[in-house]
């Protein structure tokens, strides 16, 4: 056989730092799937690549910024949102995406999450939720379902987990969605919508962690987990976010969909409108008029 066919080029290669491959993620991890969705969303969203920045915190998902061939900045644990806030305010023409995990965004970064939603800073937060601190070996998180086993909750978690879509919606986020790593088409579409949405947008992505969370909780491999997502997900666009909490390791229903899509002036617009009203011609308008 002479013709060993060369491997086809990765269709999203132009968005990846191929010189950094192989990546750090485990086989079966859902992060790569979501990055694939994100790269496709970047292609579709119509935003010039040079005006798009990705900021990550710390953890497995915190490594996403490092593999995307965009202006990408990898900061401290939990603080990607305030970094993104400063970046967006400095140059309102940029599209700024925060891509990080549940521990990073909801635990150590929780205060920044709620305040950015309240301010309606025009950034997109993609929070991958694998229910655990995977990079450090599987400690309990504020998203860990009741009774899930974690290294720092060896007898099972007993704290009530966050309902993050409800949290950010109640703080004023203008776009809130949840999908799983199974819903690649819907997730890609949501990413496009979120990046083009003016204001604070938030996507929770439920994603398998086969090495740590699934194994420790005897939930099978990633394929089993994706099947679980497939069989138990119920799409409820516009769902009452009070009803979308994920409390059990194996809920009967995984409620996914676009929960919130409303209009509200974003931070820079509110600042410009208010200050020009109060200061008149003396106010120096910030950003493009």
């Amino acid at each position: 056989m002479s013709a060993v066919k060369s491997v086809q080029e990765n269709p999203v290669e132009e968005f990846l730092r191929t010189d950094r491959l192989p990546h750090v993620w485990c086989s079966g991890c859902g992060i790569g799937t979501t990055v694939n969705c994100f790269a496709r969303a970047v292609r579709k969203c119509g935003i010039p690549l040079e005006k798009l920045a990705v900021i990550s915190g710390i953890g497995c998902t915190g490594r996403v910024a490092g593999y995307l061939k965009l202006d990408s900045i990898h900061v401290t644990h939990g603080r990607a949102i305030p970094f993104a806030t400063g970046l967006k305010l400095a140059n309102p023409e940029l599209t700024v995406v925060v891509y990080s995990g549940d521990g990073d965004i909801a635990a150590i970064g929780g205060n920044h999450l709620i305040n950015a939603a309240r301010r309606n800073v025009d950034i997109t937060v993609i929070m991958l939720n694998n229910f655990t601190y995977a990079m450090t070996g599987g400690q309990v998180t504020p998203t860990a379902p009741f009774e899930s086993i974690n290294t720092t909750a060896p007898y099972g978690a007993y704290e009530m987990p966050f309902n993050l879509p409800h949290l950010v919606a109640s703080c004023g986020a203008v776009y809130v969605a949840r999908w799983t790593a199974y819903h690649v088409v819907q997730l890609t579409k949501a990413m496009v919508e979120a990046m083009n949405k003016k204001g604070f947008s938030f996507i929770e992505v439920i994603s398998p962690c086969p090495t740590i969370f699934l194994r420790r909780n005897r939930l099978g491999d990633s394929v089993a987990e994706l099947k679980f997502y497939k069989e138990h997900s119920v799409i409820k666009h516009g769902a009452d976010t009070r009803e979308v909490g994920w409390d059990e390791t194996r809920p009967d229903e995984i409620i996914v969909g676009k929960f919130v899509d409303i209009e509200r002036p974003d931070y820079v617009e509110a600042m410009n409108t208010h200050l020009s009203k109060r200061l008149g011609d003396k106010y120096v308008w910030w950003g493009k008029k």
Partner: protein, 392 residues
């Protein structure tokens, strides 16, 4: 090597004229004159007036002030603004600067040019919110984990709060480090005459943006002065930077060699250029038996004590640190070989700068500490007694 690009201040930010204001307000005006167009802050006594004024002034100049949810957020929000192309600062005091330490390390590691203003109060913990201290002087050098160097300046007057914060911004741009502006409650709240010059008399350093095209540019390839050129988000470089140990491409490399190269450069870019950064004021050091070495408000209080000692016939000179870090080692060593003693009054108990003097002089002369726990300034008598003791 990228030459240091000087320009003059943007007149929009410069309130030229003669004023009567306190050090905190003057620091704000200095920051605006230096081209600072972004501040993120969180209320904390005795520093808050800086951002209060900034929040009132910046809408008229063009820029952003944001009051963040805490000091941790402020200290990274400002770095986002810097990577977005602005000059930026945050302003705080003891408890706030303690919260900011992780991001001081991030600024050192990403080489984010930025300014941290610390209007020092008494500590530890909540301490003395409304009263002065100078007990954060070692913290600003060592506070974040790991190896890196910073620059710190300390003003003694309202005029210097304006003048030196401009230097702080300029040094941040030249060396791409977090620069500390170490005020204290007295200087911050003291009201005196301030002269703000015309904008074209104020020298401002531009960011060292690269002229290399994307593809050729490497984020952490240093110039011969060990400082790399910068880019900002949105210019098409599609660059990556990380707080992980990284190589010249900005990519994480987790091994001892990368650590060696990165950390040595972060330290050496200040140490090898220290002679260009040192700045101090001297008076009557030649022929003196005793030199009083101090900084900030304590250097000013010491003037009275020096006068009293001179009246007693003691030959007293003085050295005032303007740049505290990097410490002017060779000059202090030189002085030590000429005098009987160096007297170091400061508003902390354990001799935060005195022990640096002791380390540097290596026993060549006596070093007399004049400790004070803070809450007020020294009684000049206390410094006078130390001078008399030293001269014996």
């Amino acid at each position: 090597m990228a030459e240091i690009r000087y320009t003059t201040a943007d007149p929009k930010g410069v309130l030229t004229g003669v004023h009567y204001m306190d050090g905190n307000h003057a620091a704000c005006e200095g920051a605006l004159a230096a081209g600072c167009r972004f501040a993120a802050g969180y209320p904390i006594t005795p520093s808050t007036e800086v951002v209060e004024r900034f929040s009132a002034r910046i809408p008229l100049v063009g820029g952003v002030f944001i009051q963040m949810e805490d000091e941790i957020a402020s200290s990274i929000c400002l770095q986002g603004a810097v990577w977005g192309g602005l000059k930026a600062m945050t302003v705080t005091s003891g408890p706030g600067i303690s919260l900011m330490q992780e991001h001081i390390g991030l600024a050192a590691c990403l080489e984010t040019p930025c300014v941290f203003v610390n209007v020092q109060r008494g500590g530890p913990s909540t301490g003395l919110p409304t009263l002065p201290g100078q007990a954060d002087m070692q913290q600003c050098r060592w506070g974040s984990h790991g190896d890196y160097e910073v620059i710190a300046l300390s003003p003694s007057t309202v005029q210097e709060s304006f003048d030196f914060i401009i230097d702080a911004f300029n040094l941040a741009e030249i060396y791409r480090v977090p620069v500390f502006f170490m005020m204290d409650e007295c200087v911050g709240h003291m009201t005196e005459k301030l002269i703000i010059p015309e904008a074209d008399k104020i020298k401002v350093v531009e960011r060292r943006y690269t002229t290399k095209p994307p593809g050729e540019y490497l984020p952490y390839k240093p110039d011969p002065d060990l400082v790399p050129e910068m880019v900002k988000v949105g210019d098409g470089y599609r660059f990556h930077v990380t707080g992980l140990t990284h190589d010249e491409r900005g990519y994480p490399v987790i091994n001892a060699q990368a650590q060696h190269e990165m950390c040595w450069r972060l330290v050496n870019k200040i140490n090898q250029n220290a002679h260009k950064i040192w700045r101090y004021e001297e008076e009557e050091v030649e022929g003196a038996d005793v030199v009083v070495l101090s900084y900030g408000i304590s250097a000013r209080v010491a003037l009275k004590a020096i006068e009293m000692a001179k009246e007693k016939g003691i030959k007293v000179g003085r050295m005032r640190l303007i740049v505290v870090w990097p410490f002017p080692e060779p000059r202090v060593k030189e002085i030590a070989h000429k005098v009987k003693a160096i007297v170091v009054p400061e508003l902390n108990i354990r001799g935060q700068i005195a022990r640096e003097v002791e380390r540097v002089v290596e026993g060549a002369c006596k070093v007399v500490r004049v400790p004070h726990a803070g809450g007020t300034v020294h009684d000049p008598e206390q410094i006078f007694d130390a001078i008399m003791e030293a001269a014996r």
